[in-house]
Every structure is written in structure tokens, then in C-alpha cells.
């Protein structure tokens, strides 16, 4: 197992390499440059040329890439072109934690609410707890996070005045964004859990356990949950990664100073250094989550062996 994990961690290096090459090429293929993102407001050619020479943007693309790699390996993410005078690492460092907080809390909210809802629904299939749980997951699926975010602001900030509209400076600011971002996860987890639990309910080992006269609680906890978790585990990692990397709409609606807002801005302004940094950061996060999922997979289901 240790060798397996080690190999997978080493494998991250080529994966990240391929991703960085693709991003670098796509980014440079996009029309415009950091100093002239749109062609309708051209800089004088002499100034543009001088700026590009100063930041090495006039060199052939492979040289630019190699120097980016050399700096990246040493932990230097370069300057931010769109935010003059600030380094990319400074911007990422200042704002990343807020996105992680938001995504992490939304993830906890999804797990704590979604899995029990799914389990209860499966155990009481086609009875009112099932309908209740289905109703909630249906709302979560039918309402996109940005619509939910707007509706929550309208109801709980403007009308009831329970929570502040914008900001990220304390627990009262966290409630609405976390609910808006996490409700889709709640719904998805509840549905997967329900389907997976129903699947194992009909397995022979559950019938055996029932015929042995085991208590329902024991059957559910010892025999069903562990087996039902196998397909659920596969979506937990991507869910967390998706919540952290996909929060930019919620961040911009609630004015949360997270990395997502910067990253949309960075693409529009062709801020090469920031685009690369955020991509690499998110890619690493997602790849690590996938590894955790695969390890958890073997741990939950001893029949699965990695060699």
C-alpha cells in the first residue's frame, strides 16, 4: 500500500506537467496579451514592445514555458500583470484560505446532512421519511447555487434581516454562502446514498444477517453502511474539490475575498502568472483528492487490491 501511495504521488509530477503545458498553450493561444487583453484599446507599439521585453513575453513560447517551470520549481510564481506591484504568491496566499474555508464548510454541510438523509430514505423506502428526504434533495438539485444564493439574500438578508448580505468576517457571514454552495452536495450525496443503500439491502449477506436475528441497527451499521459507502466514496473527493474550485459564483455574489474571484478576473485580463498558479493549485488539490479516494476505496472494500 505504501509503495502504491508513493507511486501515485510521484505520478502527480507528470500529470501536473501535462496540465501545465496544456494550460500554458491555451492561455497563450487566447487572443490578446497581459498588457493588451483587448484589441479595442491598443497601447502604443513602442511601449507594448518595451513592456513585453521587460517581462520576457517577447521570447519564443518554449523559452517562456521553461523559465516559468524553473521559477515555479523554486516557488517563485512571478508578478501579477493585472495587479501591478503584487506577486502572484502574495495574492494566492491572501485569498486562498477564504475559498478553502467556504468549500470545506460547504463540504461538511453536504456530508452531515446528505448521507443521513440518504440512509433514512433508503431504510424507509416509499414512506414519508423517504419523500421528505427526496423533497430536500430535489430542491437542492433543481436550484442552481447562484439562484439559491440570490433567493437566500432576498429572503434572509433583505426581508428578514437575519444575516448580512456581503462579506466574510464572521460566523454570521458564513451561513448563507455555505448553504447556497453546499445544497447541491447535500442533494447529490442523499441521492447516491439512497441508491447505494437500496442496492445493498437486497444483497444475500444482509438477508443472512437478518435471518441470524441480528438487530436492525447492527445490520445497518456493520453490514450495509460499509458496503454502501463504496460508490459514495468515489464522489466525495470530487465533491470537495468541486466545492473549493467551483465557488467563484457564490464568492462574487456574497463579496467573499476568495481565489475564485481573482481567477475569473485573471482570465479576462490574461494575467498569465495568476492563471498558471491557480490552475496548478486546483489541479494538485483535485489530484490529491483522487488519490485519497482510491486509498479509501481499498480500505473500505478489502476485496479491492492495488498492486
Amino acid at each position: 500500500m505504501t509503495t502504491y501511495i508513493l507511486r501515485r504521488v510521484l505520478w502527480l509530477i507528470p500529470v501536473l506537467f501535462v496540465i501545465s503545458v496544456i494550460t500554458f498553450l491555451l492561455m497563450h493561444a487566447a487572443p490578446g496579451t497581459p498588457f493588451q487583453p483587448r484589441s479595442d484599446r491598443p497601447l502604443p507599439p513602442a511601449i507594448l514592445e518595451r513592456l513585453e521585453r521587460q517581462f520576457g513575453l517577447d521570447k519564443p513560447i518554449h523559452e517562456q514555458y521553461l523559465s516559468w517551470v524553473a521559477n515555479f520549481v523554486q516557488g517563485d510564481l512571478g508578478p501579477s500583470y493585472a495587479n501591478r506591484g503584487r506577486d502572484v504568491s502574495e495574492i494566492v496566499g491572501d485569498n486562498m484560505w477564504n475559498s478553502v474555508q467556504l468549500g470545506g464548510m460547504a463540504f461538511l454541510f453536504s456530508v452531515v446532512l446528505g448521507i443521513p438523509l440518504g440512509v433514512i430514505a433508503a431504510l424507509r423506502q416509499n414512506k414519508w421519511p423517504d419523500y421528505f428526504s427526496t423533497f430536500f434533495s430535489v430542491i437542492g438539485i433543481a436550484t442552481p447555487s447562484f439562484v439559491l444564493a440570490v433567493l437566500l439574500v432576498f429572503a434572509f438578508s433583505l426581508t428578514l434581516d437575519w444575516f448580512p448580505t456581503r462579506g466574510w468576517s464572521g460566523p454570521e457571514y458564513w451561513v448563507l454562502p455555505v448553504v447556497a454552495l453546499g445544497s447541491y452536495g447535500v442533494a447529490q450525496l442523499a441521492r447516491y446514498t439512497r441508491a447505494s443503500m437500496l442496492e445493498v439491502t437486497r444483497r444475500d449477506y444482509v438477508r443472512t444477517a437478518q435471518s441470524k436475528g441480528l438487530k436492525e441497527r447492527t445490520i445497518v451499521v456493520v453490514h450495509m453502511l460499509r458496503n454502501a459507502f463504496i460508490p459514495i466514496v468515489t464522489i466525495l473527493g470530487p465533491l470537495l474539490a468541486g466545492l473549493i474550485t467551483g465557488s467563484f459564483v457564490v464568492e462574487s455574489i456574497y463579496g467573499i475575498p476568495g481565489i475564485g474571484r481573482f481567477f475569473i478576473d485573471a482570465i479576462g485580463r490574461r494575467d498569465y502568472g495568476l492563471i498558471m498558479a491557480v490552475t496548478m493549485l486546483y489541479a494538485t488539490l483535485i489530484a490529491v483528492m483522487n488519490l485519497v479516494v482510491d486509498v479509501a476505496y481499498a480500505w473500505i472494500d478489502p476485496r479491492i487490491r492495488y498492486s
Partner: protein, 314 residues
């Protein structure tokens, strides 16, 4: 004597029952599920609305009634001036715009899912069944696609190709299909692989192998039908996912090209006027919720209907 007694003991109802296929059985079970039938009917209605709606409405989705909004000093409320759902701030009929949005959202939903299944299921099945080197190669390939932050990739791709012929084809929709499709198949591939990994250790597969069923048949006849439930749920959840991804692209302004508007862009536009003109937000939101719900109910019903292990327990 022995032969005769065997035919005597054959269950009587088995002789009287017409032979039915798995799919016919499933269809009959689906019809018994009320929510699924309602969901299916709404999906069909939405599809019809998407195909024929724009020909039936007297208004255009792109031309506004400027005289009307000048007279009213603002957009028409639902019912005003012959506009059933009112108009937007430019005087464009909201119902017509929602119907054109249905066209966009339904097309995105279907095309993206076809791409997802077409790539994801075969690749996931091959990886899960053969394991070893093939699994490694495929999974390493999916690792790269999977570790790529999807939204960033979709946005980058859209920005790069926006001004090319490819980016302008079908009002920008072709680019949306490709960008979303390229990233969304990986989830299904991993799901199928996970299912097969776990299923191939089961007794019925061992039995099939023991009597010499060829690999291909085990996968297509035994393993894939047994993983249909999770695949169908993933696809059902994938359709809203595709519609959402498209609306996110429209939110950032790189989705479908104006004057066309998907439900996503209508909602984004409606947000701005939410306090004074709530109908601009509410009707598109209802449209999207209705579509997402009906696909969900239909998918749930399909799941229960297609699961052969439920057979006879209804």
C-alpha cells in the same frame, strides 16, 4: 415417467405468462411510477416546446416592443399588452425567450450526455474489467483530464476559440458542447470502473467465467446491466450539471451569444432587476427548476425500472 413429472411441476403461471424482455418489463414498471411518468411527460413537453415553440409564438425572442415599454415606462408585467409572461426591459417577450432558452438547454443537455456516455462507459468498462496495464494507461489518461479544474478548462477553451469559426458555430453552442463534453465524461468512466472493480469479484461473474462465457459478453451482459443504476443516476445528475455549466458560461459572458439567451443567462439578467421586476428572475428559474426536476424524476423511475434485482418484488 420422470420426464412427465417434470413437465407437471413446471409452474403454471410461467406457462401462461407471455415471454417478456428485460426492457419491456422495465418499461411496464416505469409506467407504474407516477412521478417518473409526470417527469417523462414534462421532458417530452419541454422537448416539443423547444422544437415547435418558437414557431407558435407571435413574438420574436430578439426584437423588443419598444412602443409598449415606452408607454408603460418599463417592462410589461405578466399579462400586460398580450405578453403572457411579460417582457424584459427591452420589451422582448419573456415566454418567447424562455422557449428559445428551452431549445438551448435541451440541446446542451442531450448532446453533452451523448458525448459523456459514448466516451465514459466504454473506457471505464475496459479499465475496470482488464485491470493491470490497460487500466493503468486509461486511468493515467483520465487522471490528467480529471485533475484539470473543469471550469477553468471550459472557460479557457471558450476564451481561446470564441473568435474563431468554431467558436461562432451554432451561436456559440458548438463550443459549449465540446468544452463541457470533454471534461464531463471522466466522472462516468471512473464510476463504471469502480462498479466493475467491485462487481467482477462477485459469484455470478465467477460462475459465468467458469462455464466459459467470453469476456466481452460478461461485461456487456452481466457487469454493465448490473451497474446501470449508478450510471443512470450519474447521467440524470449530469444533465442538470451540463445545463448548469452552460448557464455558468453565460454568467461569465462566454456562453451562448446574445441576442439568444439560455435559461442561465435569463436568470443572470433577471437577478439585476429582482427587486423591481421579479418576474424576470422567477419565470426562468421556474423553467430551469421544472426541467431539472423532471429529468431527475424520470431518471429515478428509470433506475427503479431497470434494476433487474427488483423484479417480482413490486
Amino acid at each position: 415417467m420422470a420426464v412427465q413429472s417434470r413437465s407437471d411441476t413446471l409452474p403454471l403461471d410461467a406457462l401462461q405468462r407471455k415471454p417478456t424482455s428485460l426492457w419491456r418489463d422495465a418499461f411496464e414498471r416505469l409506467l407504474k411510477n407516477r412521478l417518473a411518468v409526470v417527469g417523462g411527460i414534462i421532458v417530452i413537453l419541454l422537448a416539443l416546446l423547444a422544437i415547435f415553440g418558437p414557431y407558435l409564438t407571435p413574438y420574436s425572442y430578439r426584437l423588443g416592443d419598444t412602443a409598449l415599454i415606452q408607454e408603460l415606462r418599463g417592462p410589461a408585467n405578466p399579462g400586460q399588452g398580450g405578453h403572457l409572461l411579460g417582457t424584459d426591459i427591452l420589451g422582448r417577450d419573456l415566454l418567447s425567450r424562455i422557449m428559445d432558452g428551452a431549445r438551448i438547454s435541451m440541446t446542451v443537455a442531450i448532446v453533452v450526455q451523448i458525448v459523456t456516455i459514448g466516451i465514459g462507459v466504454p473506457l471505464g468498462a475496459i479499465a475496470g474489467w482488464y485491470g493491470g496495464r490497460i487500466d493503468n494507461a486509461l486511468m493515467r489518461f483520465t487522471d490528467v483530464v480529471y485533475a484539470f479544474p473543469d471550469l477553468l478548462f471550459i472557460i479557457l477553451l471558450s476564451v481561446v476559440f470564441k473568435d474563431t469559426f468554431f467558436g461562432k458555430a451554432l451561436d456559440g453552442l458548438l463550443l459549449v458542447f465540446v468544452a463541457i463534453g470533454v471534461v464531463s465524461w471522466v466522472g462516468v468512466a471512473r464510476l463504471v470502473r469502480g462498479q466493475l472493480l467491485s462487481l467482477k469479484e462477485t459469484e455470478f461473474v465467477e460462475a459465468a467465467r467458469a462455464i466459459g462465457v467470453p469476456d466481452r459478453k460478461i461485461v456487456t451482459r452481466h457487469l454493465l446491466p448490473n451497474s446501470l443504476g449508478p450510471i443512470i443516476i450519474a447521467i440524470t445528475l449530469g444533465i442538470p450539471g451540463a445545463i448548469l455549466a452552460e448557464s455558468l458560461l453565460s454568467f461569465i459572458g462566454i456562453g451562448v451569444d446574445p441576442p439568444r439567451a439560455s435559461w442561465g443567462s435569463l436568470i443572470v439578467g433577471g437577478q439585476e432587476w429582482m427587486s423591481s421586476e421579479p418576474h424576470l428572475l422567477i419565470f426562468p428559474a421556474i423553467a430551469i427548476a421544472l426541467a431539472l426536476l423532471s429529468f431527475t424524476f424520470l431518471g429515478d423511475g428509470l433506475r427503479d425500472a431497470l434494476d433487474p434485482k427488483l423484479k417480482g418484488k413490486q
